[in-house]
């Protein structure tokens, strides 16, 4: 999720920046932090707009902590976390949350795995009790694993295999990187899913799931001290774990442009271009990540931005075109451009058009009016997102898990607002160069060329 300007714009939950009347009306969301003796961090943001609480547990482990042969295991473990402990049998977790009126789910990315419940505020103890239980007492059974791995394979088919656009992105990342584990899809390669075992999953759980690798994030109508006391009560006795050494797996320098083609059943070609660029690591010192984020905003952050305005509406060369900056994460940063040609235009035409837009930025820079437009979006998005407690909790969790801090939220907005036109031009000139680029073309194939791989279900009858 942490992606692009939207994310960074999104990242600005508690801004103090603008000398604006907004500030007067702004409810200050109090944030309090406590670290338990076992290393568990607890972050509480009070929001009293409704008698509701969003409860999340974030583990600092995702698909980038996997290696070849077990890709997808972080996500499979996420699924298995609902399959029971000694005290709470399989399926019971969700039943207990549902009976309390709540909703629960989980998500996995390259950088993290997170679990959440949304409940009436009085039900927070239930959430923390259940999360503490499965942090330490998960029972991984062979039978449950055998069923759930099938579910995950269905998820992969649904999410990636039958969607040309997803395949294009998956293959692009696999080509753009050679050593860093971001080259593997979060869902895992199918052959790894086919050979993954319950023991692999158990090992991953044993290695990574402990209080000193987790952050509890609570947003809602709660009192911080009471939350800390509950966290101590339920999580306090879980022993600290010795975490595996995190090896850097640093990506070697790219030595020139890389190109690939993906053939898949589709109507239109598509182009996806990815440059390796810096990610945000020292938010108080760096400026380049903010400039890349503003560049994304100028190119495609709103309907008036350059790519939709020029490529789609004005030149009518693209059905759609956009930019994205992946700059918040534990692994390498990327700047992406994508486009789909109109009928009669080729992938090469779109690539050329996207390159022309970059060259314009380098040659002519961006205007103050364009920057102001992006700044306005950042300010308004900052207000709008406070309408969602879930979003606020997610933002805090992402930042804390990728090595940044919720405290940086003010800083982000301040630094973004201060980026100049010259800085935007400078990052485009410096980083969006061919030697750092990987280009993927989707080469559309007719539907019937992909022969059915499997026999039809036995006994399927013709329709009436």
């Amino acid at each position: 999720m942490p992606r692009s300007r939207l994310l960074l714009a999104a990242l600005c939950a508690l801004p103090l920046l603008l000398p604006s009347p907004l500030l007067a009306a702004r409810p200050t969301g109090d944030v309090a932090v406590r670290e338990l003796d076992n290393g568990l961090r607890v972050i509480v943001k009070t929001d009293r707009r409704a008698p509701v609480v969003v409860s999340m547990v974030w583990y600092r482990v995702g698909s980038m902590d996997e290696h070849n042969g077990i890709t997808g295991v972080a996500h499979v473990l996420e699924h298995m976390m609902f399959k029971g402990t000694r005290r709470v049998p399989a399926g019971e977790f969700s039943r207990l949350i549902a009976a309390a009126g709540g909703r629960d789910n989980a998500f996995t990315s390259r950088d993290y795995t997170a679990y959440f419940q949304i409940l009436q505020k009085t039900e927070l103890p239930l959430s923390l009790r259940l999360e503490a239980d499965r942090m330490n007492n998960l029972l991984l059974s062979r039978d449950e694993f055998a069923k759930e791995i099938k579910v995950v394979m269905e998820e992969r088919r649904w999410r990636t295999d039958d969607r040309p656009q997803s395949v294009l992105y998956e293959r692009l990342m696999a080509s753009a990187l050679k050593a860093h584990p971001y080259r593997h899809p979060v869902i895992g390669w199918m052959s790894d899913l086919e050979t993954l075992t319950v023991e692999d999953t158990q090992r991953f759980y044993d290695q990574w799931y402990g209080p000193n690798n987790a952050t509890v994030v609570i947003v809602g109508d709660v009192v911080a001290e009471e939350v800390f006391a509950l966290a101590q009560k339920y999580f306090g006795r879980i022993p600290r774990k010795t975490l595996p050494q995190r090896k850097a797996q640093t990506e070697p320098p790219q030595l020139g442009i890389q190109r690939l083609t993906v053939k898949a059943p589709a109507e239109q070609a598509q182009v996806l271009m990815a440059w390796r660029v810096p990610r945000l690591q020292k938010p108080a010192e760096e400026w380049e990540p903010y400039a890349l984020d503003m560049l994304e905003g100028v190119l495609s952050g709103n309907a008036a931005a350059r790519l939709p305005q020029r490529l789609v509406r004005d030149q009518r060369i693209a059905v759609s075109a956009g930019a994205g900056y992946e700059g918040v994460g534990r692994g390498p940063g990327f700047f992406l451009l994508a486009g789909t040609p109109v009928a009669g235009r080729s992938a090469a035409d779109i690539e050329a058009a996207l390159r022309r837009e970059l060259q314009r930025v380098v040659d002519e820079g961006v205007s103050e009016a364009e920057l102001n437009r992006v700044r306005a979006q950042i300010i308004s998005a900052d207000v709008y997102q406070r309408d969602s407690m879930f979003f606020q909790a997610r933002l805090i969790g992402v930042l804390e898990t990728v090595g940044l801090s919720y405290r940086d939220l003010d800083l982000f907005i301040e630094r973004l607002q201060a980026i100049t036109a010259e800085q935007v031009r400078e990052v485009a000139r410096k980083y969006l160069v061919d030697d750092q680029l990987t280009v993927a073309y989707l080469d559309p194939q007719p539907l019937d060329s992909a022969a059915p791989r499997i026999k039809p279900p036995a006994g399927v009858r013709h329709g009436n």
Binding site: S94, F107, D162, Y169, P265, S320, D387, R461
Partner: protein
């Protein structure tokens, strides 16, 4: 753009999202204010000064169901092109002005509803400009010919791409088989009809259906009642008077089961099972809502998810929904499974449905569903966005102003017998449409 949709983050379940579509219901101690503008538009308003922003929507009964049978797509194009030029303002100028003030203007469109929603900061410096733009767009879209032609070809490209996907093919076949010639049987767009549509069709559709008398205005957020009244007057003043769209007919019940198997090379079969469901005004609404929660709308604890996913690992997402709309929207069971398991998954779903309709839920299931729905009530109205959505729905479907207050009691008093009887009245498992896309068997309809 495409980039935003790459799956960097995987969620454990998508069924919940679908399930929640049904759950357009809620209560609360919300002081909803209601009045009519001078020219007859209905207004629904809740003040909330907690955040310096306001949500505003204006909608008309002018969704895809109100298209002429010969020209599907006119309603949707009327909507999507509204903002691409209005009262002499060119599209680029409109987009620039909206972006400059951080306003978010979205199109709102489905089978019934057609309109715009706006989210803006409430400071008058931005709010006034945003509302002026929305007013112009609503009352005086220009539909410039070159823009119309460009958008039509973009649309055609998008439709051709989408029509290749097994999910699109499955939902289209399902919709056609369930509704036949009923307006709900038509898609928002049909490729073969696009060439027949002209700019004049859009102008006429807008003039006939975007009338003040049928407008529903919902306002939520940081404005006073007096300001809300002024906003509603401003937004509707330029709209013509008129009677707007006529009532929709009821869909014909299915006389027998229908099965369609469509070949496609995808690795998964896309399966839909269903029939016409209920209207939003159906007296059985709550019984159906709670029953469906137990059957396949309640996420991980519902029967379909339990049987298909938890017990057998046959699908990532398996769910059932109703779409209670102006006319009886579809009852839909949906899932995707590896193509050699389609028959097995289908058998499981059919058996689950048969048993549920024959016997109803158990007492235990009904109690659990009530606990979840009632206990979850505060989360239905915990943000401006959700409350604004309720205002629009209450207004559009003429629900009582105390709808949110009665929500919990309506759920609370339901019995197993009532849920069972409501399903028995509405759903006949022997007369269902079944669509499976991505099987090697050819259709012979």
């Amino acid at each position: 753009m495409a980039i935003k949709s790459f799956p960097l983050v995987l969620f454990r379940c998508v069924a919940l999202l679908s399930a929640l579509l049904f759950a357009q219901a809620a209560q609360a101690i919300l002081p909803i204010e209601h009045w009519r503008t001078a020219n007859g538009a209905k207004v629904y308003f809740v003040a909330n000064r907690g955040l310096p922003m306001v949500d505003v929507s204006v909608e008309f009964p002018a969704g895809s169901a109100f298209d002429l049978p010969s020209k599907p797509g006119v309603a949707a194009l009327t909507n999507s092109l509204m903002r691409l030029g209005a009262q002499g303002l060119a599209e680029d100028e409109i987009e620039r002005r909206l972006a400059d003030i951080g306003a978010v203007l979205n199109n709102r469109f489905d089978s019934d509803r057609n309109g715009l929603t706006l989210r803006t900061l409430s400071d008058p410096r931005w709010r006034d400009e945003a509302l002026q733009l929305m007013t112009r767009i609503l009352a005086a879209p220009d539909y410039p010919q070159p823009v119309f032609e460009r958008e039509r070809s973009r649309l055609l490209a998008g439709l051709k791409e989408s029509e290749r996907l097994p999910a699109t093919q499955a939902s289209r076949e399902f919709q056609r088989a369930v509704f036949g010639d009923h307006p709900y049987g038509r898609r928002a767009y049909e490729i073969e009809a696009l060439d027949r549509i002209t700019r004049d069709d859009l102008v006429a559709f807008h003039r006939n259906f975007f009338v003040a008398d049928r407008a529903v205005v919902a306002i939520m957020g940081d404005v006073t009642r007096a300001q809300a009244e002024a906003i509603a007057e401003q937004l509707t003043r330029g709209l013509p008077r008129g009677k707007g769209s006529a009532a929709l007919p009821d869909p014909a019940p299915l006389m027998k089961g229908i099965e369609r198997f469509v070949p496609h090379p995808a690795s998964q079969s896309h399966i839909y099972v269903g029939a016409p469901g209920i209207k939003r005004s159906d007296p059985d609404f709550f019984a159906i809502f709670v029953g469906n929660h137990i059957l396949g709308g309640g996420g991980f604890v519902s029967r379909i998810t339990e049987e298909v996913r938890q017990k057998r690992g046959l699908a990532y997402s398996a769910y059932s929904t109703f779409s209670p709309t102006l006319s009886a929207g579809p009852f839909t069971i949906g899932m995707q499974t590896q193509r050699d398991q389609a028959q097995e998954a289908l058998a499981v779903v059919r058996k689950t449905l048969r048993e549920f309709v024959a016997n109803g839920p158990t007492e235990k299931e009904l109690t659990a569903a009530k606990q979840n729905i009632i206990g979850g009530f505060p989360m239905r109205i915990d943000s401006n966005r959700k409350i604004h959505d309720y205002l629009g729905m209450i207004g559009f479907y003429d629900l009582p102003l105390n709808y949110l207050e009665t929500f919990v009691p309506q759920v609370q008093r339901l019995t197993v017998a009532e849920v069972k009887a409501a399903f028995a009245r509405r759903i006949d498992p022997e007369r269902m449409v079944t669509v499976v896309v991505a099987t090697d068997d050819a259709t012979a309809p």
